[in-house]
Symmetry: C2
Subunit: 353 residues, 2 copies
């Protein structure tokens, strides 16, 4: 439905980002996409794959219309370090961190300016970012800050991980587990449920069935092993239900994901699960493999997805990297863009494709 | 190899325990077993399944030899409440809690006295136990205390959950997550690794490949999201390696279980995973279903296994309960008994069967 292009950011130039971008394009999965990145780095990735591909450098996303079929459109932001394609694969370098951030910033500006429909990000490396003096624990937090209007508070966002079986939305992400326990509050849980509920409309589910996992073993066993369920989580669920949200729990963390799982012969009881901690949520999503997992940032004023894996420095440049998760992220982004435009329709199946 | 019987405890008389015991026996999975329980309760379970079965009440495990084929041998401890079979299915009752504990105590005495080879426990209900004035968060803690010689400290034990794909050993179990974070120490992690390593010999793996999951997201990301990995977990792993144990980590909790998973076409990188918290470990073991999961208590002076589910009060007495997990627990107990006698042999496959 949207004809505005999707933007695909380079990620860390010395990780697997460039080669999975090229592979996804060669496999026909990156139609209507503009790469925000470095042309030389992408050429090096084409060589790493032992393929040929014409790159078309463009100046604005709208120029994509003039790019011939079979050429990969690249929008190269000003100010990228000029030695990127000469840096060794698989190593932390400040220039890679600076370039990754520059590409993301450029993509956010373009999508917020209405020139693109969504941002799909290839993996970056946090140490490379830090070496460049850019201090964010991950993409999600960086995008949250970049999305805020100047002088305004950043919007509340949540990370969703989704694959063909499961969708999980997290109350907190890149914090110590001890701190994650402290971050469980009436407000944080209610906000997570509300963001999850509202975002679901974009994939065609106006009244998703939401399960909330507890924090403690057996969801606290009536207060015996922790009382966060009683003090915060159950009241937040009650309030969300009062607001008309179809939400249930808190459930024991160790069985709720199994119950929500959508698989052949196993109709999941829920459309998504709210998890209190990074690993309660990500362990089940990743258990069967990271090939198909997609990371979606909910709550941003634009659609953003990414693959569910890192820079894989150990295999970067070898041409072995699998583009499945990036391809799933592209499919999910298209679906969310279309859904955001329609905001209606029959409940969609859970599959990310 | 062992001809001493296995003991199978009744569990909560009003839960699914009695009917899964009867079902496992009728399906041929409870050979060389003596049920430590109440004859009337088991008769009621036979009726709930709409089957016929002769129960043979015996006085000591050795009497099993004289029980005809096809009869279920029952050893009824003295002092059981006499109204058990009249209590409503699926309800908490102090008499059920008292009876469950009495059966476990009797079984522990018999196995420690050399009259039986192992204890397999059907599910009990913690509220029923509490109603009877017996205060344990679970079977594991109760068995640990019962296994201690009079006046002596209880032995350090750990809970292992295993299915056909994964074996997980937990540093802590039935405590609030906040407390679980506090329980991660050099000593607790090292002790868990050592118990896991030593116990593995019983299933024929003298040098199991052990992975240790971190506590924090990304295993703390070099101290950015928590420092328990640096302060406690990595030093414990180093010490265990110095002791000759093949142990690795700490790994990011969200991907280590995927890496350790043994499945068709996916050779796991590790034989077992040590997890810091109840739910980090149990979420992946239960994700694909609880049918085949087995709970094993490591560190006790005898073999003890149990199914990986609770009393399922919602379906108790309906004859619907699935005995798969109990049957897997019986197979695992036999295997551990044989392994403990041999303490040698080629590395065994991970399958619990």
């Amino acid at each position: 439905m949207s004809t505005k292009p999707l933007l695909l950011t380079l990620g860390d130039a010395c990780g697997i980002g460039p080669e999975i971008i090229v592979r996804a394009f060669l496999e026909g999965a990156a139609g209507n996409c503009v790469v925000v990145g470095d042309v030389q780095v992408l050429r090096r990735a084409v060589r790493a794959l032992d393929r040929t591909l014409v790159l078309a450098r463009i100046e604005a996303p709208a120029d994509l219309a003039a790019v011939p079929d079979g050429c990969l459109a690249v929008l190269q932001p000003d100010g990228l370090p000029n030695d990127l394609a000469a840096l060794p694969w698989g190593r932390v370098h400040a220039h890679c961190g600076a370039a990754a951030a520059c590409c993301i910033e450029s993509a956010v500006r373009l999508v917020q300016g209405g020139q693109a429909s969504a941002v799909v990000t290839a993996p970056l490396h946090k140490e490379a970012l830090a070496a460049a003096g850019i201090d964010f624990p991950g993409h999600t937090e960086m995008l949250q800050e970049m999305a805020a209007p100047p002088g305004a508070t950043a919007p509340p966002v949540r990370m969703m991980l989704a694959n063909d079986e499961l969708r999980v939305v997290l109350v907190s992400i890149h914090v110590a587990l001890r701190r994650a326990v402290d971050l469980v509050s009436f407000e944080s849980v209610l906000q997570t449920i509300r963001i999850a509920h509202t975002s679901s409309a974009a994939w065609g589910q106006r009244q998703p069935r939401i399960a909330v996992a507890g924090l403690n073993p057996h969801a606290g066993e009536a207060g015996l092993f922790g009382d966060e369920e009683i003090r915060f989580i159950a009241p937040a669920i009650a309030e969300a239900r009062r607001l008309g949200i179809d939400v249930h729990g808190p459930f024991a963390p160790d069985t709720v994901f199994m119950r929500a799982r959508h698989a052949p012969g196993h109709a999941g009881e829920f459309d998504l699960v709210v998890a209190m901690t990074h690993d309660h949520g990500l362990i089940p999503v990743k258990y069967l493999g990271v090939d198909q997992g997609v990371n979606v940032t909910l709550g941003l004023p634009f659609v953003r997805t990414s693959p569910d894996h890192g820079t894989a420095f150990d295999i970067a440049g070898t041409g072995q990297a699998d583009a499945s998760s990036l391809k799933a992220a592209l499919r999910m982004a298209r679906r969310l863009v279309d859904g955001a435009q329609v905001q209606a329709g029959a409940p969609a199946p859970i599959a990310a494709s």
